[in-house]
């Protein structure tokens, strides 16, 4: 079974649009802004240009310069003012142009955004969303291809999610915006405009909860867990494996913090094997956490150790080499074999 989202959609519904991930986020943002006048978008080049990826395309034109702000060029400023705007009652949605440029804002994220609610025991809420295009595969120069999500998963007080398909993209961005907690929203940039991933988005559907993982393909021999851009890799691997007679289950993590590992535990108890996939370096990362928790929860079910297919523990290499660096179908299948032959 290939449980893409498409199957459930009524394509005769005229509100249904066939969208890429990029357009789905754009529509999600627009819908959220229409629903609540306190939702504002801010970042570098998000206004007239519509962002370097055009994710905020048209929003400034329609909502004006006070709801879509082309800010000065400084990420601590973007996030720090967003915190203040949230204290005032706004629901800011910040765009960080590329994940590699989130670090000047790290302090505001970890010292204020993550802690204000705890510090004030809920008297102050900071419903800020930080949108972060992330991941590799676009042939870019340095700092444009990284996967820093584990850093934020480690910082208590933040919520971290990542979408992998247009339907989730559309809903998850809206859910993130209505969540009263700060949410780091990681977007798989190389899939933004992927026509292959286009899917009908039905605004009248009932979405899955934001902080829930989802089995996107059922299988029996081993489980693959992935998120964001790696979900496609996992699904492709499962398709390829099926041709060779191996049935793989695929779980889209969706929420990276808090982790929703119950579906993973349940799956591993059936398959006995788990491969966790991520583009980020493996060291002290989200995939480490998954392995740590699964080996504990499923100790007697595991037929092989949890294995990981990740970026290497190096800075992101010159992108002529990114195909080697990034987990791909071959490395996933190779690792499945290792697991099966353990």
């Amino acid at each position: 079974m290939t449980a893409t989202m498409k199957s459930t959609v009524d394509v005769s519904n005229s509100a249904v649009q066939n969208l890429t991930i990029g357009k789905a986020i754009n529509l999600g943002l627009r819908t959220a802004m229409e629903a609540d006048s306190k939702v504002i978008v801010l970042g570098e080049d998000v206004g007239k240009l519509g962002g370097v990826f055009r994710i905020t395309d048209g929003l400034q034109k329609d909502f004006g310069e006070q709801r879509v702000l082309d800010t000065p060029l400084a990420e601590s400023g973007i996030i720090g003012t967003a915190v203040g705007l949230a204290v005032r009652g706004f629901r800011p949605v910040c765009e960080i142009q590329f994940e590699g440029f989130i670090f000047p804002g790290f302090d505001q994220i970890s010292s204020q955004l993550a802690k204000l609610h705890y510090r004030t025991q809920g008297k102050i809420k900071v419903p800020v969303v930080i949108r972060v295009p992330y991941g590799g595969g676009i042939g870019a120069v340095e700092h444009h291809s990284e996967s820093p999500e584990s850093l934020f998963a480690h910082v208590a007080g933040l919520k971290v999610v990542s979408c992998s398909n247009p339907v989730d993209a559309y809903w998850m961005i809206q859910q993130a915006i209505t969540t009263d907690d700060p949410v780091l929203f990681f977007e798989p940039k190389r899939l933004y405009h992927s026509g292959n991933l286009k899917a009908p988005v039905d605004p009248s559907a009932t979405p899955d909860p934001l902080f829930a993982s989802r089995v996107v393909r059922t299988g029996t021999a081993a489980t693959l867990v992935a998120y964001g851009p790696s979900v496609k890799v996992a699904l492709d691997a499962a398709t390829a494996a099926e041709e060779e007679g191996t049935s793989l289950e695929v779980i889209d993590l969706r929420t990276l913090s808090p982790l929703d590992l119950d579906p993973v535990f349940e799956s591993v108890r059936r398959t006995g094997r788990l491969i966790a996939i991520s583009e980020a370096p493996g060291e002290s990362s989200l995939t480490s956490e998954i392995a740590a928790r699964v080996q504990q929860e499923c100790f007697y079910s595991l037929e092989a150790p949890v294995l990981r297919v990740t970026g290497f523990d190096t800075p992101y290499p010159p992108t002529k080499l990114e195909e080697d660096y990034l987990p791909d179908l071959d490395r996933v299948l190779h690792t499945v074999d290792r697991s099966l032959n353990w």
Binding site: G84, Q112, T120, I124
Partner: protein, 401 residues
Amino acid sequence: MSSPEQWTHPEPGAGPAATAAAPTPEQVIAGLRTTSEGGAELTQLLTPEGERIPSAQFDPYVSDVDHEALRGLYRDMVLVRRADRESNAMQRQGQLGIWVPLLGQEAAQIGSGRALKPTDMAFPSYREHGVAYTRGVDFRELLGIFRCTDHGGWDFKRHGFHPYTIVIGNQVLNATGYAMGQKFEGKVGDDDGEATITYFGDGATSQGDVHEGFVWAAVYDAPLVFFCQNNQWAISEPTERQSRLPLYQRARGYGFPGIRVDGNDVLACLAVTRWALEQCRHGNGPVLIEAFTYRMDAHTTTDDPTRYRLSDELEEWKLKDPIERVRAHLARGGGADQAFFDQVQAEADQFAAELRDHVFNMPDPPPDRIFSNVYAEPSPVLEAQRREYLAYLDGFAGSEH
């Protein structure tokens, strides 16, 4: 010998560039850091001797401050100083984990704080106990932070007083965002406009966040008063380690006004802050105020200033005491008699006694508090940790542990 005060900016391209000003070793040894004088551009309405200096520009902003109002300011300062000293003592007695004294900065805090309207918002650093008091925050509510039972518990919105912020500079950006919000909501434009004030120290001016706050506020015309209390020291580092120029001049580079006020003159602080807030209310913000003052005590109770500064400096600043000059002015001008001063002192003692009583009886938080309100919408993972830990603690119940 150049000093930060005398140094002036050469016109672009004209003349030689200048070099950083620092006191000579001799000056330092003599306790004669130039920073004890505020310089020609210092705005002052009450001299250290209690003499009232007229100011065409700022008198209108304190025309309502009659003797009664001045007695009120005096009382404010005496109360917060008393509470500050009491807290310092309680720390020495082990009742507080740490204390951050405001001693010497009463005028800067009371003057600026009393300039605010209820609809205004203040974003403090960690030393603004006096401002907290003007915002109606019960001093007792501050002390949980320093007893380490909580991170601050007052009603931030009702008091218009944001939580204390310890990471240097952070609050300046948060305040900028808040002030932008006031602007976006159309709350500026006339006398009834809203405004925001944010407090930070001389050391903080070096942080990128403070700069970015300046940039943002300028670009968005945010109704924000940057209130820098230059108390001459960032822990052990004198202001020369942060800047060649007097700090109020930093505003020059951003295109909004910067002004230096005598931070030990409560009347001048009130007037200048009212002026600055008025600019903001009318949409002409931001404004930078440098309140030139002095940290009379240690940085915190864990600090030992004898390692880095000489007492001569302290002695010099004692002559500029913010409370004494108001007392002198009131006494000499017939604004208050001894009975008044005695009564304020009695009130202050009462205030301190209540504080002490409160602190000594402050309950410890329950372990459960570790897990509470990390999120607005609970995390199942964390809920499981909470349950597990509480069950673990239950396991000790009745045991010899």
